[in-house]
Every structure is written in structure tokens, then in C-alpha cells.
């Protein structure tokens, strides 16, 4: 492993990404265990926010701006997904 790669991977943002990924796994346990449907929806909504944070951190750790652009698009699309699931819970898809 070259010195440049080592510096990129072991930067402070990569350690932050590991912490956010740990929080994501804890959230994923609630998505799998959740006793009712809205519990799982809350877990998925939290997981979307954590994924956006992790993408921004990885974009800073690897010096790639394209990861942050993908984070913007992911935030908007996951919002649409949450709204569709909420509408389906409320009155069904018609």
C-alpha cells in the first residue's frame, strides 16, 4: 500500500465514516426486529439520513466530489420514497 493511499484511507473522515456505519447497523437491527410496519418505516428513514452522512464523509475522505453529488440525489429520492410509503400506510395506493 502506497503512502498516498494510506493517507487517504486512514484520514479522520474515514474514522467518522466507521462510526456512522456502526450507527447504521444498530438502526438496521430495528428495521429487522420492528414489531409493526411504522417502526420499520422509521428505521428506514433514519438509515437514509445516516447513508447521506456516510456518503459526504467518504467523499471528503477520498477527495471525490462525485460522492457528495450522489448524496444530494439520494437525499431527494429517499424523501420521495418515504412520502410514498407514508401515503400507502395512510390510505392505500389509488
Amino acid at each position: 500500500m502506497g503512502e498516498e493511499v494510506r493517507e487517504m484511507i486512514f484520514s479522520e473522515f474515514f474514522y467518522g465514516m466507521i462510526g456512522v456505519a456502526l450507527a447504521g447497523f444498530v438502526t438496521l437491527a430495528r428495521v429487522m426486529l420492528g414489531p409493526s410496519v411504522p417502526d420499520r418505516v422509521v428505521g428506514v428513514d433514519t438509515l437514509n439520513t445516516l447513508i447521506v452522512a456516510g456518503m459526504i464523509l467518504l467523499g471528503a475522505a477520498y477527495d471525490r466530489v462525485i460522492y457528495i453529488d450522489i448524496a444530494i440525489v439520494y437525499a431527494l429520492l429517499s424523501y420521495i420514497g418515504t412520502l410514498i410509503i407514508a401515503k400507502y400506510l395512510q390510505e392505500g395506493l389509488e
Partner: protein, 121 residues
């Protein structure tokens, strides 16, 4: 000096994200879980973006590479998108959960139920 501030921002963000995900297991109800998880993860992500913006502005001053200006501006756009969509999504989930029949577990007064039935507050 700037590195210490970046470390502090990252520590705050990771702490609040982990606390927000733990609140999903601590609370007992859909609404209390929504309350804990949404607010904590939004606050944590705000500090993630602060750390990235500080880092990229510092790198912009060091190296004069316009890539870092792009990184700072796009992080701010991502933060604005997240801050607009996260509370409205949580509100939609709470309203849908109430209307689909999941009542608050230990609530004494349910004002939204009264409003639906048309009773006086």
C-alpha cells in the same frame, strides 16, 4: 488548530448519530422513536457537513484547487436538501401511522384524535 476543530465536529456528529440510532431501541413507541431518531440524526449530519466544509475551505487556501470550493458548495446543498426533507418526512410518517391505527402507547390526551372526531379541544 483547524484540525482540532474538525476532530471536535466529527466527534459531535458521530456521537449524535449513534445516540439517535440507539434511541430506536430505547423508546417503546412509533412516535417517541421518530422523535429521537429524526432529531438526533439531523443534528449529527449538520455537524458532518460543517466538518467537511471547514476541511475543504482549509484545503482551498492551502492548494488553490477549485475542486475544494466545489466540495464545500455541494456539501452545503446536500445539507439544505436534508434539512428541508427530513422534518417533513417525519411529519408524514407520524400522520400516516396515526391514521392507519397505531395509537400512542401511554398517551393520556390525544389532541389529534379529538380534532379528527370534531370534538372541542
Amino acid at each position: 488548530m483547524i484540525e482540532i476543530i474538525i476532530y471536535a465536529f466529527l466527534a459531535v456528529s458521530v456521537t449524535f448519530n449513534i445516540l439517535g440510532s440507539l434511541s430506536l431501541h430505547r423508546f417503546s413507541d412509533v412516535y417517541t422513536r421518530l422523535h429521537g431518531a429524526t432529531k438526533c440524526t439531523t443534528f449529527g449530519t449538520i455537524f458532518v457537513v460543517f466538518a467537511v466544509v471547514l476541511h475543504s475551505i482549509w484545503q482551498l487556501r492551502e492548494t488553490n484547487n477549485p475542486k475544494y470550493l466545489q466540495m464545500a458548495l455541494h456539501s452545503i446543498v446536500a445539507l439544505i436538501a436534508l434539512m428541508l426533507t427530513n422534518p417533513t418526512g417525519a411529519h408524514a410518517i407520524a400522520k400516516a401511522a396515526h391514521l392507519s391505527g397505531y395509537k400512542p402507547a401511554k398517551a393520556v390526551i390525544d389532541a389529534y384524535e379529538r380534532k379528527i372526531r370534531g370534538e372541542a379541544q
